[in-house]
């Protein structure tokens, strides 16, 4: 029982990282109905920009986040018309075409990164990555690493900002309308192409910022993308495809399962437990935890 508070805190901290990985992916799917298999590569590219900017400027990676977001949001905005063209074609299955196109993008980015950045793993140093809060109450103790707490706060912040933007602004209403019915929203005067470009830009920017946080907490290398693509996909499926509000709960659930398994049960079977729970929930509720997925 002494480890219960620690296991819970660690689970929430891991969940925070998972939110950052999946929330942009869920937004893009919700609006554009695209399963973007390049999400991990956007994370990787953002991590490398953060790494080189940190080397050059010696600024803390967390201070660099807005700049990273801006750069990649513009890139995403510019690339979106290509994606839009692929998924809005009259021939073929648009979802499948989008999946194949982004998978190709992912392979291209990975290959280019291997050539350009090499195969070594790197780390982005942060002033807050070497210390933690330590709380001790009798036999109970909790360690909270600063850098992971910052990751969790960042995850909560982007969730709240996205929630506010989607619910309280005209742009958000347009996004929601587009996500609900593309043709009808067009009839109401919403420019689907432009809104989709903004959304894709936001998604790519968020993913790139996540890369910097991951590089600061863990490591970064040219081949890291695949792992995070799978993770993002699983969390979004568990949350319900395109159901943004489900992402934090799905991420926290997976984080807590992972943490409790590592601490109380056999660490060897952690991933099996995570996937077992995912499959069980999907068997019971194929549209995700809340039955609200597309």
């Amino acid at each position: 029982m002494e480890l219960l508070p620690q296991a819970t805190v660690d689970g929430l901290l891991i969940g925070g990282i998972y939110i950052t990985i999946a929330i942009g992916f869920s937004l893009a799917y919700g609006v554009m109905h695209i399963i973007d298999f390049a999400v991990g590569e956007w994370i990787m590219l953002g991590a490398f920009l953060g790494y080189y900017l940190n080397l050059w400027s010696v600024l803390d990676p967390f201070i660099l986040l807005p700049a990273i977001f801006l750069v990649f949001a513009v890139i995403g905005y510019l690339i979106q018309p290509l994606v839009y063209r692929v998924i809005s074609g009259k021939k073929g299955n648009p979802v499948l075409m989008g999946l194949v196109f982004t998978f190709g993008l992912a392979l291209m980015f990975r290959g280019a990164a291997l050539t350009g950045f090499g195969f070594y793993s790197h780390s982005i140093p942060s002033a807050i990555s070497q210390d933690s809060f330590f709380i001790e109450m009798g036999s109970v103790f909790i360690t909270i690493p600063y850098v992971r707490l910052a990751g969790l706060l960042y995850a909560i912040a982007i969730t709240l900002v996205l929630h506010f933007v989607l619910k309280k602004t005209d742009f958000g209403r347009a996004v929601r309308a587009l996500s609900q019915h593309r043709e009808a929203s067009g009839l109401m005067g919403i420019n689907a192409k432009r809104i989709s470009s903004y959304v894709y830009g936001i998604y790519v920017g968020l993913s790139a910022m996540t890369g910097v946080i991951i590089g600061s907490i863990f490591t970064l290398n040219a081949q890291m993308g695949g792992e995070y693509t799978i993770l993002a996909f699983f969390i979004v499926v568990l949350a319900g495809m395109g159901y943004l509000a489900g992402v934090p709960w799905a991420a926290f659930l997976l984080g807590l399962v992972q943490s409790f398994f590592l601490i109380y049960l056999n660490p060897s079977y952690t991933l099996m437990a995570v996937f077992g729970i995912l499959f069980t929930i999907l068997l019971i509720s194929p549209k995700g935890l809340f039955g609200r997925g597309v």
Binding site: I14, S121, S129, P267
Partner: protein
């Protein structure tokens, strides 16, 4: 014959003539290389590639391998195993059947070596791995597979014994390994050595590769282990050190195996890499006397630095030494390319009898027992990162510096 029949007949003749072309006389050796050029093990795979390339470049710069007065250059044929055992086996098959290589320089990782070895056994093609360290490989007693780096159950006890001899002696240990062939064997070797050295193992676990270990380490922090020993690969080691920093826990000693000597480990962790212990069999400062290509460890290290602008570690050195072992065995049997099955068998016999001093140390493969076909001519070293450099701290007879102990908190 009609036109279509003529074309088919021509294609048939061409297809039948391919093996004849492949086996025709050539004046260079075809050397297969199976290693991880992509995938999760690409860092280590590329280290082995540098080692193999450096050997081939050095041989070719001298005109080739001299056999009965004639020099035969070597040409490397790469097979990327993509860090996946199934791809490793496919690469082995392709090199054997399509490229028809004379011999093979083997994979970076043990799991990949275990996948490629049975395939090469089938085609009777000798392989020397310059990197794989799991004892599982040698337990299989493959006739055609050799290795220049001793297995971890031969080397793993050295750093534990060095640490156990320090003052104050560590009393407790947390030992964990990543879930792959090499890492598991490393963790088990650490555990056996710790028990023998009188260190109480508080917890021993095998964890999934790439796992976020923060919850595990936070729980372990409550036990306050004096020693944390981890079997894993480069990226996992970096993540573990970062996780320990994040929870602000500094054991008396932190021990890892391969990866500590990789330049990326120090580059990624900078000051956090300091005082981490590791195991090795070669550093550029050890005293060796080479009979061929490089006269000593320093000259090899200089050549490697000149070629790649990255310091060489023991895996890169072991990979170049694998090439030298083949080179010397070929000279012994007067083997000229292409090597047929009989000659490849002779090559295996020559490798078993080989005793050669190289820049890397003595190469001599065991011919019986648990280390069958592993190189047992080397002395296991305990190394430690001190001020960003790899320094030998044990055994006492070879130590360049005293171990920095207990570990200082990074805060």
């Amino acid at each position: 014959m009609k036109g279509r029949t003529k074309v088919l007949a021509l294609l048939l003749v061409l297809a039948m003539s391919v093996p004849v072309w492949a086996d025709e006389a050539r004046d260079f050796f075809k050397v297969g290389v199976i290693t991880s050029l992509s995938g999760s093990l690409a860092t280590g795979g590329n280290v082995t590639k540098r080692g193999y390339d450096l050997w081939a470049d050095a041989v070719n710069a001298a005109g080739g391998i001299e056999i009965q007065g004639k020099k035969y250059p070597v040409k490397l044929f790469y097979g990327d195993d993509q860090s996946e055992p199934a791809q490793g086996a496919s690469a082995a098959e392709r090199l054997a059947t399509q490229e028809k290589v004379d011999f093979v320089l083997g994979p970076y990782a043990s799991g990949l070596t275990l996948a490629a070895a049975p395939v090469l056994e089938k085609f009777k093609i000798p392989m020397i791995t310059g990197s794989a360290e799991s004892p599982m490989i040698w337990k299989e007693k493959f006739r055609y597979t050799f290795g220049t780096i001793p297995p971890v159950n031969y080397t793993g006890s050295a750093p534990i014994n060095t640490i156990a001899g320090l003052n104050p002696k560590p009393k407790t240990a947390l030992i964990l390994g990543s879930n792959d062939t090499f890492s598991k064997a490393t963790a088990e070797a650490f555990q056996d050595a710790a028990v023998k050295a009188g260190i109480k193992v508080l917890k021993f676990n095998i964890v999934p590769s790439g796992q976020d270990l923060i919850p595990y380490l936070s729980a372990a922090k409550a036990m306050q282990p004096d020693l944390i020993a981890f079997g894993g690969h480069d990226e996992e080691l970096i993540k573990l050190v970062k996780a320990l920093n994040q929870i602000n826990y500094t054991p008396k000693a932190l021990l890892m195996h391969y990866g500590v000597t990789e330049p990326a480990f120090i580059e990624a962790l900078q000051k956090s890499a300091d005082q981490v212990f590791g195991a090795s069999v070669w550093t550029e400062s050890i005293k060796t006397k080479g009979e061929v290509l490089w006269p000593d460890a320093k000259s090899y290290a200089d050549a490697a630095m000149k070629a790649y602008n990255v310091p060489a570690d023991y895996t890169q050195a072991g990979s170049s030494a694998a090439g030298i072992a083949f080179q010397m065995a070929l000279i012994k049997i007067n083997g000229v390319p292409p090597l047929d099955e009989k000659k490849r068998d002779e090559l295996v016999d020559a490798l078993e009898k080989l005793k050669v001093n190289t820049f890397y140390g003595e190469i001599g493969f065991a011919t019986e027992g648990q280390f069958y076909h592993a190189n047992v001519g080397l002395t296991p070293l305990t190394i430690q990162i001190q001020n960003g450099k790899v320094v030998v701290v044990g055994p006492d007879s070879l130590a360049e510096s005293k171990p920095l102990y207990p570990m200082k908190a990074k805060k």
